[in-house]
Each structure stands twice: as C-alpha cells, then as structure tokens.
C-alpha cells in the first residue's frame, strides 16, 4: 500500500513526459525540455554550430544530454535540456538556430506540465499552435 501511494505521488508531481512526432519519428520529451525541428541541418559541422550557440545561453540545463543539447541529424531535430526556473522564451531558441544559419520548422516546449507546440505562420513568425496538459492529457488546438 505504501509503495502504491509512493508510485501515485511520483506520477502526480514528479514526472511529466510526452511524445512528439518529428519527420514520422516519435520522440520522448520530458519536463523542462524543448525539441526543435530544424530545416537545413545536413552535416555535423551544422550541429557543432548549433551546440556552440546554445552553450552561450542562460536557459540550458547542461546536466542533460551533452552539455544540454542533443542533435539528431536523421530526423532533423535538436533536443534541449532547460533549466527548471527558466520559463524560456521560444524566440530565444529560434534566434540561436537562426544565428547558426538554419530555420525552425516547429518547436515543442514542455514546462510546468504544459506541452506547447509552436510553428511558423505564413509570415514566418513563430506562433503557438497547440497545447497539451500532460498532467491530465487534455489537448487544445490554439490556431
């Protein structure tokens, strides 16, 4: 009984995880993480530049992945560990990708049990498109 209660406590407060789909690949995203689908990222030198860019920001949790950044060139995405208190501005993430010379197709941020998907609109401006509450699995379409 005690173990059961501890398990319930764990899934209620301490564990928030979901899945997103990038280029037909399902990717796990956990609390305080972001996943960026990047256009044009075709080589390891591209990935190096992106890693260098994020290493100079103040919102990356360098204890996750490799210095806070994981790059999947096959599925063309970058996964970021975010500092718990950062409440990161999505524009800052986009700026780092653009400074590396690439474009963002979509961006997912999971913080405070809220998974938000951002996509570029017709003018190329990043907008929140969908929202999911990972604590109760409710989905909302925003645009």
């Amino acid at each position: 009984m005690k173990k059961y209660l501890l398990f319930l406590l764990f899934i209620s407060f301490g564990f928030s995880q979901s899945k997103v789909t990038i280029q037909d690949k399902e990717v796990n995203i956990s609390e305080n993480e972001a996943i960026v689908e990047v256009l044009g990222m075709v080589c390891s030198m591209c990935a190096f530049g992106i890693g260098e860019g994020f290493s100079k920001t103040d919102f990356i949790d360098k204890t996750k992945f490799k210095d806070g950044v994981s790059v999947d060139i096959d599925a063309q995405y970058v996964q970021l560990g975010l500092l718990e208190s950062s409440n990161v501005n999505p524009e800052k993430i986009v700026q780092v990708i653009e400074d590396a010379g690439y474009d963002v197709n979509s961006l997912f941020i999971l913080q405070n049990n809220k998974l938000i998907k951002f996509s570029a609109d017709k003018l190329g401006i990043l907008q929140p498109m969908a929202y999911k509450d990972t604590s109760n699995d409710n989905h909302f379409q925003m645009n």
């Binding site: 256009l39 044009g40 080589c43 030198m45 992106i50 060139i73 096959d74 063309q76 653009e98 400074d99």
Partner: protein, 200 residues
Amino acid sequence: MLRIFLALIIFFSSISAHPVIFKNGKVFWITQNPNFNDIRFGISKTSDWLIGGRILEDRKSNETFALINNNFLAKRWNKSNSQANLYLLSSVGLNTDNSKGMSTLGIHADWENRQFMVMEMVEYFSHSSALVSNTRFAYSPYKVDYSRMSTWLIAQYRIEYKDEEYSYMFIPVVRFFKGNYLFELGSNGDDTFASFMTHF
C-alpha cells in the same frame, strides 16, 4: 558604376566548403592544390558574413600575397533534409615582395543533402588575370549521426582561363569529417590536393 559594384562585392566577400559559418564562429583553413598554398583564419560576425585573413602563395609564379577576405552569404535555402547556398567571395591585399595590389573575386553556389552535394565556384585572380571554375559532385556512401566520421567521394573538375587559353584538370577527392574537423585528400596521378578545416 561597374567598378563601384565590383569594389562592393570585393569588400563584402573568398573560396570552398562553407565560406560562412555560425555567428561568432571561427574558422581555420589550410589548402594545397596544384596552383596555390592557401592559409586562412576567419570569424563569422553574423550568420551571413565572414571576415578574415589569408596568406595565398601562387605555386606557379612563386608569388605570396597577404589578403583580407570577405565572404558574404547572399541567399540560403533551408529545406527539410537539404540546403542550398549562394555566396559572394572576395579577397583584397598585397604581394608580400613588392606590395603590389592583388584581389580575388568569386561566386559560389552549392546544394547538398546528407548523401549528395553539387558545388560550382568561379573565381577571378587579378595578379594573373586568370578565371578559374571549380565544379564538384560529391556522394557519401553512408549516413552517420554527428558523433561519427562522415566520408564523401568527390569528383572535382577545374577549368582555368588565362592568356586566352583554357586548361583542364580532374581530381578525385575523398573528404572525411567528424564534429568540427574536415580533411580532404585528392590526386589524379600528376597533381595532388589536400585541405584541412576546423570550426571553433
């Protein structure tokens, strides 16, 4: 007007792999080909403009030049799994022996995905009045993630127009890169090509 246009291009523009890199990224690059020994160091002030220094030695005339080079990314097309680029390239400086002025002016276009690459670069060298075209077709036999070494097989075709004569050269090149290091080696039996580049 044409002179002003050319001067502007020279001011805002160099040569080969990715001539402009990520913002505040630095590049060190050394190349030896049948015509030149070329050493460069540059910094990308933005994601579309790199400025740097270059020591260029003409192996045929034994002249050495100290140059400032500018590379300008005129247009980039980022697509899912591919990228295409158009660059304006230039260098301007002096002959280290007699301080005579020298400049290069070029244009570079490329398209690549993770297995194929096409590149065309045309460059003019003022000291020899030579116009040089380099064309590359490249193929990578396997795809790797960025932690492993990537290999490319490159067919490089060079045409030089100088003194109203054309000369032609074909060199097969193999490229290796891993992380932020790139190394290329080529030979056609008569001529050799070698290049090393790193970003940091």
